[in-house]
Structures are given as structure tokens and as C-alpha cells.
């Protein structure tokens, strides 16, 4: 389904774009693997948050609250960097069973 794009007169002068409009572009459908968060063993170190290339680890009041699946690309860095042992607090699994 195609969205009608603006006519030239409707565009901002000088091709200026407001901040943060990329949020509307959902890269979540890029995934072939999906991360699952296990909050019960999460130590809230926030290492996954700092290393997520897609700003997709959700944090509120200095605590991780979840994963933004609309944008997460399933790269697996969060799972790889998670320091929790012996089982990681984020594990990767197939996007589709």
C-alpha cells in the first residue's frame, strides 16, 4: 500500500527535517533472530543498553524495562555482552518458530 508523498510546495525549506522522525521507520522486520529478556535473572547492569546499536533496550528510572521490538534488528550484541552467568539475562532465538 503506497502512501501519497508530499508535493514540492509542502516540503520544509532547505530540506530541514525535525528530530527523531526515524522512529516511524520500523526496522524490527529485519530480524531473523530475536532477543528475549529474562528479567528475573537480570542484574540491571545496563551493559546491553549502552551497546545496543539501535537504541532498542528500553530503560526507565535507571532500570531496563524491556526491548523495543519495533526497531530491534536482532544483531545479538546484547545477548553476547550480557555478563550474567551461568545463564544470560538475554538470549537469542529464532524470530519465527
Amino acid at each position: 500500500m503506497s502512501v501519497k508523498k508530499p508535493a514540492w510546495k509542502e516540503l520544509n525549506e532547505g530540506d530541514v527535517v525535525e528530530a527523531g522522525t526515524a522512529v516511524k521507520f520500523e526496522t524490527g522486520d529485519w530480524r531473523s533472530e530475536r532477543p528475549t529478556w529474562h528479567p528475573e535473572i537480570c542484574i540491571q547492569c545496563l551493559i546491553c543498553w549502552t551497546y545496543c546499536p539501535d537504541s532498542s533496550i528500553l530503560v526507565e528510572n535507571q532500570k531496563m524495562t524491556g526491548i523495543d521490538y519495533k526497531h530491534c534488528k536482532g544483531c545479538g550484541i546484547c545477548a553476547k555482552e550480557c555478563p550474567v552467568k551461568p545463564n544470560k539475562a538475554i538470549t537469542m532465538g529464532p524470530e519465527r518458530e
Binding site: A22, F25, W49, D54, Q62, G76, M92
Partner: protein, 317 residues
């Protein structure tokens, strides 16, 4: 230094929804560096992966003011913005502190952007230039740059029947920047958030020109699984392929000294771009690379020693 919990309360300079590859190190560099300061920021990006993927009209992944001009002039463009800021400050039109940061890939920094970078550093503008160094022109499909290491397979110095990848050693841009005599120069990696954040904090606290060269593993151009981006950055430090160090007012300090220096093949064997080096007949290349890594590492240790003595008067931390 600020901790992760405090950092997590700060504004993220990027939103999700940009088109960087899964596992790309560049947005990690951007997020970790920019979040190291609470000051307002203005960013200029050189043409390259970061610029293209974060601003495909009308999708803008930046949450802070951003300007893209062309490929080779991020430093010059940022100089202009900073000059206008200084002017407005003198005139009383603006009084808040603003940190000016340029991001350029190794292509737009080592090669085509070198002149513009050198000029900006020489003029002493109050700005930070960050090179997100993935060691090739990645956006156009992995062409060799001055930052590409010897032996790497790229599309303009490819491995073939008579050639084994890049012939030349990589240019040492960090040392070129040190030679400019600017107050702060640093090398870091994707994979050690504390190292990168502390250096960015330090840079932001200094008024004057600053330069950071951050090794950014690229899963596409280097050939590895996306989840290994951070691990490869750390491995580059552990093998001394990419030392983590800083030079503040001419004094060298190596920040991460590997307890047990790993042989360079540990780094090379993890990436497709070096796969050919392990074929029989290429052993001499592996030896040459190890020798050169060792030589540069020894040289760096010596510089740390000598500048500590020369400038700090004998104190060797």
C-alpha cells in the same frame, strides 16, 4: 566518571529506525561518546555509512541538531558553525555551552578529509572530531582507505591470483593529530564503554581542538557475525593491533595494557577479510604483520616513557 545508570537517564542522541547494519559499531560510538556530556550538542557528519543511514529523508534518527554538507569537509563545516557560535557568544546572542562534534569515517577523515581536518585542528576551533574507523570505504562497498591494514581484502586492493590484499601499512592518523599539537588526542574501540566514555568526558571538558580515533568493527566489511562487534574491538586491544591510548598536551598514556599480549593471528583469524592470509604460502605475511604490530607497540611504549620523563619531569604513571 559517570556510571551506566546515570548515563541511562541522559538523552539518547539516536533513535531506533536508522538503517545501519544489524550489529554496526558506528551508532555505538555515537551513543557512547555523545552521552558522555549533558551539554547541548551540535553534530556534523561526513558523507558515509553513518550519515546516509541516519538521515534518509524524511527519516531522521538524530535527536540533536545535525548538519551534513559533503564528504571531505566535516571539519571545515563544523569550524564554520563553531565560528558563528563564538561570534554570537561575543555579541551576547547566545550564552549556553554547546559541544561541537564531527563524525567522519576513515575514508572521510584519513584520505579525502585530511586537509579539512588538519586545517580545523591547526586553527584551534573548540570542537571534537571523531573518526569512526572501520578501516575501509564501507558505504560504497568496502574499498581500501589509508586506514586499511596491510593484507586486508578490499574491493580496490582485492585478493587475487597475484595479489594478497592491501600492500601498504595503514597510515597512523592518530600520530598525525598528535603532531598538530592539539590538547587532546585519543584512540579507543567499540567494546569498552568505560574507556570510550571516560575519553569523551575528558575531551568535552577541554576547550580547543580534540580528536578521537575509534576502531569500529564492521560485520559486513570485515566479515564476522554481527554479535561479535564488541568482542572484536576488545581483541584488537588485546593483540595490540589497535592500542587504546591518549595524548594529553603531548603526554602519552596507554590506557589498556594487555596482561598477556595475544598473537595477532588471534585477531586476524576471526575475520573473512584476512582469511587468505592463512593459506599456505602466506606465512611470511602473517610474520610481517606480527612484526609491525610489535614495532608500533614498542614505539608507543617508548613514547609513553619518554613524554612522561620529558614533560612530566620523570613521573611515570
Amino acid at each position: 566518571m559517570v556510571n551506566l545508570k546515570e548515563l541511562s537517564t541522559r538523552q539518547d542522541p539516536l533513535t531506533g529506525g536508522h538503517r545501519m547494519c544489524p550489529g554496526c559499531g558506528a551508532p555505538i560510538v555515537v551513543r557512547q561518546i555523545l552521552m558522555a556530556t549533558k551539554d547541548p550538542k551540535v553534530v556534523v557528519c561526513a558523507t558515509g555509512c553513518l550519515e546516509v543511514s541516519t538521515t534518509i529523508f524524511p527519516y531522521n534518527a538524530w535527536t540533536i541538531p545535525y548538519l551534513h554538507n559533503a564528504f571531505e569537509n566535516a571539519a571545515a563545516t563544523l569550524s564554520g558553525i563553531e565560528a558563528c557560535y563564538q561570534n554570537f557568544k561575543r555579541k551576547g546572542k547566545i550564552d549556553k555551552p554547546i559541544q561541537f562534534v564531527a563524525f567522519g569515517g576513515d575514508g572521510g577523515t584519513y584520505d579525502i578529509g585530511l586537509q579539512s581536518l588538519s586545517g580545523a585542528m591547526e586553527r584551534g576551533h573548540d570542537l571534537l572530531y571523531v573518526c569512526y574507523n572501520n578501516e575501509a570505504y564501507m558505504n560504497t562497498g568496502v574499498q581500501r582507505s589509508g586506514a586499511t591494514p596491510k593484507g586486508a581484502n578490499t574491493t580496490t586492493e582485492p585478493v587475487g591470483k597475484v595479489k594478497q590484499g592491501k600492500v601498504q601499512w595503514r597510515k597512523d592518523l592518530t600520530e598525525i593529530m598528535v603532531a598538530h599539537g592539539i590538547p587532546y588526542v585519543a584512540q579507543s574501540i567499540v567494546g569498552n564503554w568505560a574507556d570510550l566514555t571516560r575519553k569523551a568526558e575528558k575531551a568535552f571538558s577541554i576547550r580547543g581542538p580534540k580528536f578521537m580515533n575509534v576502531l569500529q568493527p564492521c560485520r559486513l566489511g570485515w566479515g564476522y557475525k554481527p554479535e561479535d562487534t564488541c568482542e572484536l574491538g576488545r581483541l584488537a586491544v588485546e593483540t595490540c593491533v589497535w592500542p587504546s591510548y591518549e595524548v594529553e598536551n603531548g603526554v602519552y598514556k596507554i590506557n589498556l595494557k594487555p596482561k598477556n599480549k595475544k598473537p595477532v593471528v588471534e585477531f586476524l583469524k576471526t575475520q573473512d577479510r584476512f582469511r587468505h592470509l592463512f593459506k599456505p604460502g602466506n606465512e611470511h605475511l602473517l610474520e610481517e604483520i606480527q612484526k609491525e604490530v610489535d614495532r608500533r607497540w614498542e614505539q608507543l611504549l617508548a613514547k609513553e616513557q619518554s613524554t612522561a620523563i620529558a614533560i612530566k619531569g620523570g613521573e611515570n604513571k
